[in-house]
């Protein structure tokens, strides 16, 4: 398993669900506990943890302590653990003094090392790996891993890093190429860092276990760990096990003509009930993000209300025992054909030109200079350099114009009525 992020808070929750706050905080711990129970229950030969157990920048003793107790639990069941530290829990000096129980082997430096483990079956296992001692590792670490020396029955590599070119910041996190890994001829590469579970290669098996508990809406779906089984020198199975106690899900409601607010609430309610029915056998809570499609069937006023969160307020969480289903966001998705200045080709052309050059001209720096220069924003937020943010606000800006043209119609109409 990987990326436990024990002390990571849930992102994008706002204040609405403060009652469930303790559950959010507890969720990564619960997920890890489920993982440990699974390991004990399945009586695995070894537990591999590929980094980001907690957040060094926001480290909590409580999380470390909890992790320690779980390690002791595994120790009591004679299950060895091999772990590395990643970019989030990179090893600081005083961390190195933590003494784990004897079943735990931690790679303590950025140099690739190995540990040999004797298995109950009489076979042997060698695990290669390294831990981060800095937040970033930009050099290629893969070349430090030796080609499988065949000194033991099985050889496994642990790596916390990202595939070259897979994301903008990939080169900061021990970047690797798939072919490089394959060339080491290991039996299994257990990867960490990417929170979405993904099997990059089946033979040899190279895969991200993903995080054990999603912490925001982009980490939707079930999260957990893999149990990989080897027998007689060959891999027999590779099974995903869901661990997350709270699962994020994105759902869409397609609006129909003449839908009223109550119809939308009903549709959302149906979705919630469906998830509620899952709870009994899946033992998961759900945080739903709802997208409303075809908003042109709604009045401008209603869309405005939905965007200001009034619909969200009308939808209560559903609770079933220790589990819940809640709706965290309701987004209105604009249909593509709605265009501004459609009636006037000249203006439309002007608009398109302005839009096209907006990012390039960095108009945002001029328009939002008050915001960017705010002391708190400068210290803690990175709006200015966040291209995703810039892209999003540009989209929101266009939507505002579309909504407003509709909305001003309404207002004028009302005035006429009054006069």
């Amino acid at each position: 398993m990987s990326d436990l992020h024990l002390d990571s808070p849930f992102k994008g929750m706002g204040q609405k669900n403060s009652k469930l706050q303790s559950q959010f905080i507890q969720a990564p711990f619960d997920a890890f506990e489920r993982g440990v129970k699974l390991a004990i229950g399945e009586d695995v030969d070894v537990v591999l943890i590929t980094g980001d157990i907690y957040n060094s920048e926001r480290q909590t003793i409580s999380a470390q302590h909890y992790f320690m107790t779980k390690m002791e639990e595994l120790n009591a069941h004679h299950i060895p653990v091999v772990l590395i530290h990643g970019n989030h829990d990179y090893l600081k000096i005083h961390h190195q003094s933590i003494v784990y129980p004897e079943n735990v082997h931690r790679f303590n430096s950025e140099a690739v090392e190995f540990v040999d483990i004797s298995l109950v079956s009489g076979e042997t296992l060698r695990v290669y790996g390294f831990s981060y001692t800095h937040q970033w590792i930009t050099e290629n670490k893969i070349q430090e891993f030796p080609v499988n020396p065949q000194a033991t029955t099985y050889t496994i590599g642990l790596l916390h890093g990202s595939l070259q070119g897979s994301e903008v910041s990939a080169n900061r996190y021990a970047p690797f190429a798939l072919e490089e890994l394959k060339s080491k001829r290991y039996d299994y590469w257990a990867l960490g860092h990417i929170h979405l579970q993904a099997t990059l290669s089946d033979e040899p098996l190279i895969q991200y276990a993903g995080t054990t508990q999603g912490s925001h809406r982009n980490e939707s779906g079930q999260k957990g760990c893999y149990i990989v089984e080897f027998k007689n020198g060959r891999r027999v199975s590779n099974t995903f096990h869901s661990l997350a106690k709270i699962v994020w899900q994105n759902e869409t409601v397609h609006l129909k003509e003449e839908d009223q607010i109550k119809d939308i609430i009903e549709s959302i309610n149906d979705i919630m009930v469906n998830y509620l029915n899952e709870i009994n056998h899946k033992k998961e809570s759900y945080i739903l993000n709802i997208s409303l499609k075809n908003p042109e069937y709604l009045s401008q006023e209603l869309i405005e209300q939905i965007q200001q969160g009034e619909l969200l307020e009308a939808i209560d969480s559903k609770i079933k025992g220790d589990y819940f289903v809640l709706v965290n966001r309701i987004d209105v998705i604009l249909s593509p054909y709605q265009q501004i200045f459609e009636f006037d080709q000249g203006l439309m052309a002007s608009y398109q030109t302005v839009l096209k050059n907006y990012e390039e001209d960095r108009r945002d720096q001029e328009v939002l200079k008050d915001l960017y220069n705010h002391a708190t924003v400068q210290r803690f937020f990175d709006f200015e350099d966040d291209s995703g943010f810039r892209e999003e606000i540009l989209k929101i800006g266009q939507e505002f114009i579309i909504y407003s043209t509709g909305l001003t119609h309404e207002i004028e109409g009302d005035d006429d009525d009054n006069s």
Partner: protein, 937 residues
């Protein structure tokens, strides 16, 4: 696009109406309420949809027809990019068909309209008076912008939006603000981050805390071991101190034991001894009790005096008993006889009561029989007299009835007379009315007229009419005749009244009445004679009754006695018989009472001894029986007492014997142990008991101190022990006081460590920060989005303004020149300003122009823009009487311009301007009033 045909199914007042627009410039002429607005609305509705509650911007009213079921209609539009189309819209559906009748998708309409919505259509293709009037509301400084904005379609609206959004952003965030929500959130975030920083620092101390705790724990452990050693020693000392006291007691017990000697005594001896003593004690107590009892019995017997008497008179008592039982029998008989006697007395009383007899005066039966015939005679005479009285009364009754009959007939006759007299009075009244003098009046007038006419003729000088004298005579004659007729009639009526038959009738009735009064007086005399007769008979009856009653009284009857009953039943006989029977019973009673007296004499000695205080023989009998019964009881009790006396004497003898035996046994025991008396014996016993107790204590003490006996033996003294113990306690206290701060430190460290390990506040804070972050991001996006939207609008519009269209300017110039009658020759437009050039080459800014010229400028720019907007769909222009405020010359210019423009773009002009009617070809005009003539059509 050209609208060629309207087919209205039902829209407002228009029902099933077809309009054909053959002209490019189509005039709709009609006054208010002639349906101009409805037609405009229809065109808009078919193109853009019906007005409804949500979408009532442009059309305030709805036009559901009152007289038709179908709401809507269709338009034929030509020259679209889809060719000619029928657009049909009803309340149920929208349908677009091409000329071949193929149904096209509804979006075809959107494509035809090219993105123009109703709002834009109104802004650009609709001209109303309101548009022009609005000009006067635009401030001088804004006029430039206003005119410039005409050149960019919809820009005004977008500027409004931009301003509104800008205002909203100010409410969200200000660069140096504190209160806007985003500023507040950022401040809160700062606070949270500071708290987190502080927590982070405490996290860093964790390792050193753990280290310190380990050191402290080591110290505590070592100290604890030493404390345990001391505590063990103290416990040992404790045990010695506890046992030392016991040890001292053991020594003293052993000393005592050495001084005592044990005597051998048989085990049951003390019990035998005490048993014997008890028995003797009991006997000594028992004997006086029995003696006392004997004394009491003797005393009781002596007290019984009746006993002696009963025993002395035992023979006589037998005789008395027999006599008494006989006397009881006699007494019963006396009781029976007395009962009978009282019954007879009762019977006598009843006879006397029933027959009203005076018990004390009753005569004998013979005497009664002797007087009976005389009594009967008197009775018969009374009855005769009563018959006679009845007859006389009957006769009198008859006469009284007859008199009543006469009197009533008299009364009825008087009533009839009164009636007739009344009628006479009425007739007289009638007569007076019918014979009034006024009846002669018409006749009299005619006579007078005649006379006047006659006289008139005599003095007449007029020749026109010569017969007045003849007319006068005729009139006088007629008058005379009329008066005569009236007189004859009055006379006949008067005669009729005086000879009426009613008068005779009244006289006849009065005679009859006198006859009845006479008869009645005669009857009165007869009745008073009969009265006297009745009185005489009644007095005779009273005398006879008095005699009869006196006779009855002498026979012993009460005055109220009934003679008839006396004669029928003869009560005197019955009474005498009962009297005789009562006399016999009385005799027997006297005999029996004599016998009772004899019995009383016989039992006299008994009564003398036991005096009788009651009354009557029955109680006496009871007394005698009771006395005898009590005497028998006394004799029986005396016998029982004597038996008990004998028993008591026997038991005293037994006791004395047993006492002797026990005294002997005691003596034997004393001799066996070798003591002289009980005191010595008890002393020996006490010594033996003491020895046993001491031995018991010794063994208990030994049991307690056994394990430490040797250690105790070495103890010097209590004091030595105490001081050693105190020493140990002091050293232990010192150790403990050393331990305490360490414990406290460990506790503090543990609390701190546990807090760090268990406490979720740090996690909670993390979640709080993340939540706050999410809120900030949301609000920031809202803020930034609005900012960007504003900027986008400004940028886009500026882009449009920066590129004004030459061609449009050209067209505007032409129209403006024409409208202003060549007073102005040019409109100069650039990015920032608009100016117009006067014919004398002077440039004016808009605010320097008159209202009329401004309006012309506005119209010119609007029309020019529409014509020039090549990229836009050319929709028909709808003008709703926009120019009514123009003077005649300007209107003419205007209409000329419209005529020109209509070659390029269709114009639908709704007006009630006569000038328009003249200005345009009649083919172009649809007079709505004409259509109104046949509303059914």
């Amino acid at each position: 696009m050209i609208i060629r045909k309207l087919h209205i199914y039902g829209y407002g007042k228009w029902i099933d109406q077809i309009f054909n627009f053959d002209e490019q410039l189509q005039i709709f002429y009609g006054p208010n309420e002639s349906g101009k607005s409805t037609l405009q609305s229809f065109i808009r509705s078919i193109l853009f949809g019906f007005p409804n509650r949500r979408k009532r911007t442009h059309q305030i009213n709805r036009y559901e027809p009152k007289q038709s079921d179908i709401y809507g209609g269709k338009l034929l539009i030509e020259n679209t990019n889809h060719g000619d189309l029928w657009i049909e819209r009803t309340s149920k559906h929208l349908q677009v068909t091409n000329f071949q009748g193929e149904v096209l998708p509804n979006r075809t309409l959107d494509e035809v309209l090219g993105g123009i919505d109703e709002d834009l259509f109104d802004n650009f293709y609709g001209f109303t008076l309101g548009n022009l009037q609005e000009l006067s509301n635009v401030g001088a400084d804004q006029l430039n912008d206003y005119f410039l904005s005409i050149g960019t379609l919809g820009s005004e609206k977008f500027l409004q939006i931009a301003k509104a959004l800008e205002k909203e952003t100010d409410e969200i965030f200000k660069g140096r603000g504190k209160n806007p929500p985003l500023n507040q959130l950022l401040n809160e975030y700062e606070v949270l981050e500071e708290r987190e920083q502080r927590m982070k620092e405490s996290m860093d101390q964790y390792q050193s805390l753990v280290e310190s705790r380990k050191n402290v724990e080591r110290i505590i452990q070592q100290t604890n071991i030493r404390i345990q050693e001391y505590e063990e020693e103290i416990r040992r000392m404790d045990r010695l101190m506890d046992h030392y006291q016991v040890y001292l007691k053991l020594i003293s017990v052993q000393g005592e034991l050495g001084q005592l000697k044990f005597t051998e005594i048989r085990e049951n001896a003390p019990k035998q001894l005490s048993d014997a003593e008890n028995i003797i004690d009991n006997i000594n107590q028992e004997i006086p009790t029995i003696e006392e009892r004997i004394h009491h019995i003797n005393h009781d017997i002596a007290q019984m005096t009746r006993l002696n008497w009963a025993q002395n008179n035992s023979e006589e008592r037998v005789g008395w008993t027999q006599a008494t039982s006989k006397a009881q029998e006699i007494q019963r008989r006396i009781n029976n006889l007395e009962e009978k006697r009282s019954e007879l007395g009762q019977e006598l009383k009843e006879i006397a009561d029933n027959n009203k007899l005076d018990v004390n005066k009753v005569v004998t039966e013979e005497e009664f029989n002797e007087r009976l015939p005389q009594l009967k005679t008197i009775q018969f005479e009374i009855e005769d007299r009563e018959d006679e009285l009845k007859q006389t009364s009957g006769k009198q009754e008859y006469l009284l009835q007859q008199r009543v009959s006469y009197q009533s007939q008299g009364v009825s006759l008087r009533q009839k007379i009164a009636q007739l007299e009344n009628q006479r009075v009425n007739d007289e009244e009638l007569l007076i009315q019918e014979t009034r003098l006024s009846a002669y009046f018409p006749g009299l007038i005619l006579v007078i007229l005649g006379i006047v006419a006659y006289i008139f003729q005599s003095f007449n000088v007029l020749a026109s009419f010569q017969y007045w004298n003849i007319v006068g005579l005729c009139l006088a004659l007629i008058g005379m005749i009329m008066m005569t007729v009236v007189f004859i009639r009055h006379r006949s009526i008067a005669n009729e009244f005086e000879n009426s038959p009613i008068l005779d009738e009244i006289i006849r009735y009065q005679e009859d009445q006198a006859f009845y009064a006479e008869q009645s007086r005669n009857l009165n005399n007869d009745i008073s004679l009969l009265d006297n007769e009745v009185e005489a008979i009644e007095s005779q009856i009273m005398d006879l009754e008095f005699n009869r009653n006196q006779m009855l009284e002498t026979l012993g009857f009460l005055p109220e006695a009934d003679l008839d009953l006396v004669l029928k039943t003869n009560p005197i006989r019955t009474f005498s018989q009962v009297m005789a029977r009562r006399g016999a019973i009385q005799l027997e009673l006297e005999e029996l009472s004599q016998k009772m007296q004899e019995w009383k004499d016989e039992i006299h000695p008994l009564i003398a001894r036991f005096p009788f205080h009651g009354e009557g023989d029955i109680e006496l009998l009871e007394h005698v029986n009771n006395v005898e019964k009590s005497l028998v009881e006394v004799v029986n009790r005396a016998k029982i007492l004597e038996q008990r006396l004998a028993e008591s004497k026997r038991s005293i003898d037994n006791y004395r014997k047993r006492q002797k035996e026990q005294e002997k046994l005691i003596q034997e025991i004393f001799e066996e142990i070798g003591v002289w008396n009980k005191i010595e014996f008890d002393q020996r016993l006490a010594t033996n008991k003491q020895i046993r107790e001491l031995k018991e204590k010794e063994s208990i003490y030994l049991g307690q101190v056994e394990p430490v006996l040797s250690a105790l033996a070495e103890v010097e003294s209590q004091q030595a022990l105490d001081s050693e113990y105190q020493d140990l306690q002091r050293q232990l206290a010192i150790l403990r006081s050393k331990l305490e701060p360490n414990l406290r430190e460990r506790a503090n460290l543990t609390v701190e460590i546990n807090q760090l390990e268990q406490d979720g506040t740090y996690q909670e804070l993390g979640q709080d920060i993340e939540n706050k972050r999410s809120e900030i991001e949301e609000l920031t996006k809202d803020y930034a989005g609005k900012k960007i939207a504003t900027d986008l609008i400004y940028q886009t519009l500026r882009h449009g303004l920066d590129n004004p269209v030459e061609e449009m300017n050209e067209i505007a110039n032409q129209i403006f020149t024409k409208l202003s009658n060549q007073r102005y020759t040019e409109i100069k437009i650039n990015k920032r300003s608009i100016r117009v050039k006067h014919a004398d080459n002077v440039l004016f800014q808009p605010h320097e122009l008159s209202q009329g010229t401004l309006e012309q400028l506005y119209v010119a720019l609007r029309l020019a823009f529409i014509i020039n907007a090549r990229t836009m769909v050319k929709m028909p222009i709808i003008i709703d009487d926009a120019f009514v405020n123009f003077d005649e010359g300007r209107r003419e210019n205007m209409y000329e311009v419209l005529g020109d423009i209509s070659s390029e773009i269709q114009i639908l002009f709704f007006t009630f301007d006569q000038l328009a009617q003249q200005a345009f070809n009649s083919d172009q005009i649809i007079n709505l009033e004409d259509i109104q003539m046949s509303p059914e059509n």
